[in-house]
Symmetry: C2
Amino acid sequence: MTTKSSYRIASIPGDGIGPEVVSAAIQVVEKLAKTLGTFDINFDHIPWGTAHYKQTGSYVTGNALDTLRSYDASLFGAVGAPDVPDHISLWGLLLAIRGPLQLYANVRPVRTFPGTKCPLTTATEGIDWMLVRENSEGEYAGQGGRSHVGQQWEAATEVALFTRVGIERIMRFAFEMAQSRPRKLLTVVTKSNSMRNGMVLWDEVAASVAKDFPDVTWDKMLVDAMTVRMVAKPQSIDTIVGTNLHMDILSDLAAALAGSIGVAPSSNLDPTRKNPSLFEPVHGSAFDITGKGIANPVATFWSAAEMLIWLGEKDAAAKLMGCVERVCAAGILTPDLGGTSDTQGVVDAVCLEVEKLA
Amino acid sequence: MTTKSSYRIASIPGDGIGPEVVSAAIQVVEKLAKTLGTFDINFDHIPWGTAHYKQTGSYVTGNALDTLRSYDASLFGAVGAPDVPDHISLWGLLLAIRGPLQLYANVRPVRTFPGTKCPLTTATEGIDWMLVRENSEGEYAGQGGRSHVGQQWEAATEVALFTRVGIERIMRFAFEMAQSRPRKLLTVVTKSNSMRNGMVLWDEVAASVAKDFPDVTWDKMLVDAMTVRMVAKPQSIDTIVGTNLHMDILSDLAAALAGSIGVAPSSNLDPTRKNPSLFEPVHGSAFDITGKGIANPVATFWSAAEMLIWLGEKDAAAKLMGCVERVCAAGILTPDLGGTSDTQGVVDAVCLEVEKLA
Ligand SMILES: CC(C)[C@H](C(=O)O)[C@@H](O)C(=O)O
Ligand SMILES: CC(C)[C@H](C(=O)O)[C@@H](O)C(=O)O
């Protein structure tokens, strides 16, 4: 007797092109499950986002964390709309999940994908990096305030909070990630020359965790200098770990250097598996192209594949990525990558490839 | 009767290659003054830095700010040494000057220089940007602390402090800078989607200052998205303004994208001219090549030229830059730019060019 795994996924399309790319990914993943027959997967539609906020005054319904805990994982689109201040929408939804649900490891693989071209003359063979972002504290702890609002002497703070536990767990995760990769290189990004407290603690924890990973070659770089290295010596880089803000910046940069942010996926993981992880494209809601049907679904396909890996369906994920890569390599691309296909055209092409797996 | 201006400059070579590049710049500027005969300039050697710290326990002598106030400007090399924690050396010298002396505008012109090559396939005509960095507060306010040091529950903060006055003055400076450039474009960098206090104030002040500059075309970008734009659409960028940390990162990135951080200059200005401004290369002390005589002096030449402009010697500065550009274009370059010249070789070549101005 064999048992077939069955997964329940919270689908949170959100705003802008979010619904377009999430619907694209669901079509492809459902086709994959049906074709392979090795697992079942069900997506529940969760209508959180700016429309929900405008109707109810809240981005979510009830206790969002408890809702998500009843699923095996979440597939997220994007949040943010032109007529709501970004900090309201982001903290209303995405940032209300990442930290509170202790999804502390934001993992962003970056590589030059078929159909994209690395714009660096210094990286003729393209880029293949693994970025690990602390996702639960630091500059995104949400602390700080404004005083004397509107007065000439108004002052405001943004407080970055770092804990030893928070740093230790992401550092350990990053060293393990580096260890699992062929080159076993890790760069720890820091800014401990100008920031004397949390960033110095960050350095200290890095040095102490490193002792448990003698087979990983690691170094430390200031975030500003790291951008120079990414441009000038891309081949010297393998795995990178850094704070919430530093890696927010470096992961966008990395995706652009690799060829396009339109294909970049991200996983918001709770490595302890107490809480379900959340998967989302790196790009945002892109209201300028919303509703035109031309959003690039590849970042969400890739995010869904990362989700399958996390759920234990490594083989299915690899097959899915193979299909996506073949379609991209064949030049079936959305306009952002210089192609002439629309979103559904890419979906259909990937589904056709998936059918061939039967 | 004509009067000849005479300037007294504090020369602070500092650590690593600092003394090598500052000495190079002094030779060139002294030759320029002598050749043109239109102004006098005298450099006083100020021995602050890590050697001073090791001897005396302090990076500086007496009241550093008062000392600097007795000069017309400062020419700074670099600070930082492998055997002193970076936050001790930086806050011992450079960061003890920038903020406290209210040198609130850190100006970093970035362009593809003769002898360097833009590594971006997206910028075939090279890059020409003007970066304006808030230099007196924000993430470099120096606030924060550590509690429960060494315990498992240790927590540390880094507090970014923003004031309305601080933001307003740099914003005004940046709009004026944009106004003075042919394209009159300004991008205000922010991170107000995840940071809800100081960054929102930053956005508000930008919108209000913008009203006074109807002839400047401005937009707002999140710092992460800005890196993507710098890589993917470099031609769409002209002037950029942002916080202390954001522009620290973006200015290194910009220099790398333009061709080399080895030529990038910076001015730490007090636009009110109450305090003397400080000029320094963007690069650091570079201990790996210290003492080898191969440091690239071009960033310091360019910084010295910016100093001359600030002092009122615009014409002399332009002539100096012409000489430096001709030398670089002729391929007389240090090894970091793929050349075979040493520092003194570049100095001698520039001095020869300067002599031709006679
Ligand atoms: C949407 C925004 C809050 C987010 C961030 O800054 O973390 C995004 O840029 C990302 O990288 O996931
Ligand atoms: C030396 C260091 C403190 C400095 C900074 O971070 O500001 C440097 O990187 C710079 O850009 O001037």
